[in-house]
Symmetry: C2
Subunit: 434 residues, 2 copies
Amino acid sequence: MKPVKVGICGLGTVGGGTFNVLERNAEEIARRAGRGIEVAQIAARRPNPKCDTGATPITADIFDVACNPEIDVVVELIGGYTLAHELVLKAIENGKHVVTANKALIAVHGNEIFAKAREKGVIVAFEAAVAGGIPVIKAIREGLSANRINWLAGIINGTGNFILSEMREKGRTFPDVLAEAQALGYAEADPTFDVEGIDAAHKLTILASIAFGIPLQFDKAYTEGISKLTSADVNYADALGYRIKHLGVARRTESGFELRVHPTLIPSDRLIANVNGVMNAVMVNGDAVGSTLYYGAGAGMEPTASSVVADLVDVVRAMTSDPENRVPHLAFQPDALSDHPILPIEACESAYYLRIQAKDHPGVLAQVATILSERGINIESIMQKEAEEQDGLVPMILVTHRVIEQRINDAIAALEALEGVSGPVVRIRVEQLN
Amino acid sequence: MKPVKVGICGLGTVGGGTFNVLERNAEEIARRAGRGIEVAQIAARRPNPKCDTGATPITADIFDVACNPEIDVVVELIGGYTLAHELVLKAIENGKHVVTANKALIAVHGNEIFAKAREKGVIVAFEAAVAGGIPVIKAIREGLSANRINWLAGIINGTGNFILSEMREKGRTFPDVLAEAQALGYAEADPTFDVEGIDAAHKLTILASIAFGIPLQFDKAYTEGISKLTSADVNYADALGYRIKHLGVARRTESGFELRVHPTLIPSDRLIANVNGVMNAVMVNGDAVGSTLYYGAGAGMEPTASSVVADLVDVVRAMTSDPENRVPHLAFQPDALSDHPILPIEACESAYYLRIQAKDHPGVLAQVATILSERGINIESIMQKEAEEQDGLVPMILVTHRVIEQRINDAIAALEALEGVSGPVVRIRVEQLN
């Protein structure tokens, strides 16, 4: 089947990431979507040094893409309300599907855009508009569709969360951390959208609409920024058992919906209170499912591209598949499954926690270290407890670096054969998950 | 449009929950799906006391449902490999879509079932088979479709996680907690499937297949249970900065895929290390998105039903909508949006953190307490610091119970007018998010 032809408008951070992911994972993506996705045109004012666009045709005029009869899907990644608005309406008018990462556009002009898209029978997809790479729009719109959503609450601005995390962890002041965030490129030269909660309110407006089934109403959202927060309050909150987060909250009540972005104290044992740095997380509470949480990178070149490309795959699956089998059972098309083997446990790699019961006489540690080192097993940490019991056995606890399991099995056999070791060695696998 | 007719086979915990959610949220679900979902027949050996099935026809024979020409979708919730296998094949043969929560069935017979479903052009959906109410299959299969998945790791058995959480938090032994879990109904009389990792391996097999694009290969999964873990190791792990979790890990390597379920040490500052009790969480790492995490209830009557019903909504959307507009932009059908209003912030409800700079003379606390109590504002906690600075001002920190914001605004105006209070009162909202 012919590839679907995509036009990317805007080759900045997200546009460049989208191009790169489509190129690098072309085969993986085609195995999922059932046909290729080809970038047939790019509109950009200047090249992106992180992006080798090769022979792909480039135009300086975004409307060239919206009017190109070759293009099936227009990807809007230029940002802002004005040009982006015109571009998306023009693409829809020309019968093209649209994928966008533009939260401001959707929050402010979404009702109009969706009406036009329905009229023309085209898809407008916007997963990347909220929480970057986290598929939270899909989770709420499809995954939780059984539920009456009671409330949702999200850390949906990475810049703000980075600032608050630094204030708490390092006792720094707001202006100090903001200056660093600007130097690191996390915050814009004009940080108002981020620190005053406007960006978060755009995203919250979208989340609330899909959770509650209400039109987009950005003008009704309440926003309060983090620029007035003091270290004193961050510390008092800590002492009371809370963390301060810049939270977007949407809640259903008898009299109406609450829609508000503001600094918020959250009990420090909640998972979401421990989401730090530039990471995002959204909690969603439904009447059937209870509380759920979705966590990941809320911004950045490839995390945001991850959602843009997922929307493209959705579009291609909808264009291509018969409606009764839109998403393949095992995610990949049945004739595109891989025969890469599943490994036996002995060939799997892990770090290991080992507990050895050593008889308390000198030399055991040296023997243990030799056995491990002869098998290429490196020790990350070691802890030796005093003999606790009458038997005089000393628990020796080791954590190793990652190694193939067969080597640990060999080492354990050798350790258990040592004169100075009593009984079996306890072995538990260790994963860093980072 | 006529409602879609569903037959529920099995009216145990999940079947009863599915019936109840479909009844209670019928209107909300129809607003999302575009038409009603009607339970037209139930197959059950005995009634479920938590479920008022009213006039719904009930049969004792599940094959009545699979052969009922009225039924569009068969929901298989009887569990097990044998009868469920026959039932699902019969339903597919009769051209019916199938929704199932049966991980054992999918992990062991999925390849055969999916081939049959493709032949007949019907949907087989199984979101509820993994991690209960968490839409993690949808997240991987659709939300992360741009990514080459590097690895995933999950706490996907609630019983095991409850046991490990209790062992750590309360210093209890494995057999002691297992007995309690059985008494509470978390663990079966024969707990082998849960504590030896077989249930988790079923789920991991499914997750690995949709992440990597490989056929289901349950027989290749390595499983190691938690029954031999001792409190000593739990404590040593803690001392080293780790938590022990019963983790399912699937990882891509050059030579093949690792697929393994075993007790695992995880650094205690990872979010997933802090997932306790019967809750589930899955981390998924992709080359574009980085690490993401999905958290929620992994079992139970209505959380599992949440996923079963979401699958039903997916089926109905696919059966009903034109393929180019399968999922409505705002989750609900455009003519079914609600006009329930968005509230002004003064009408929103929250708890509040207040910091008052009190002049250090007696009586201020009493005046503060009176002002709050006159406005129906209850105090949850109070902290008074010693005067730190030369100005003799004493910071008084209060956390209130939940109340409408207008009352706090009134109280703050009154507090700021007090002789004994200096400068503005700092107010930050508090959310418990539980």
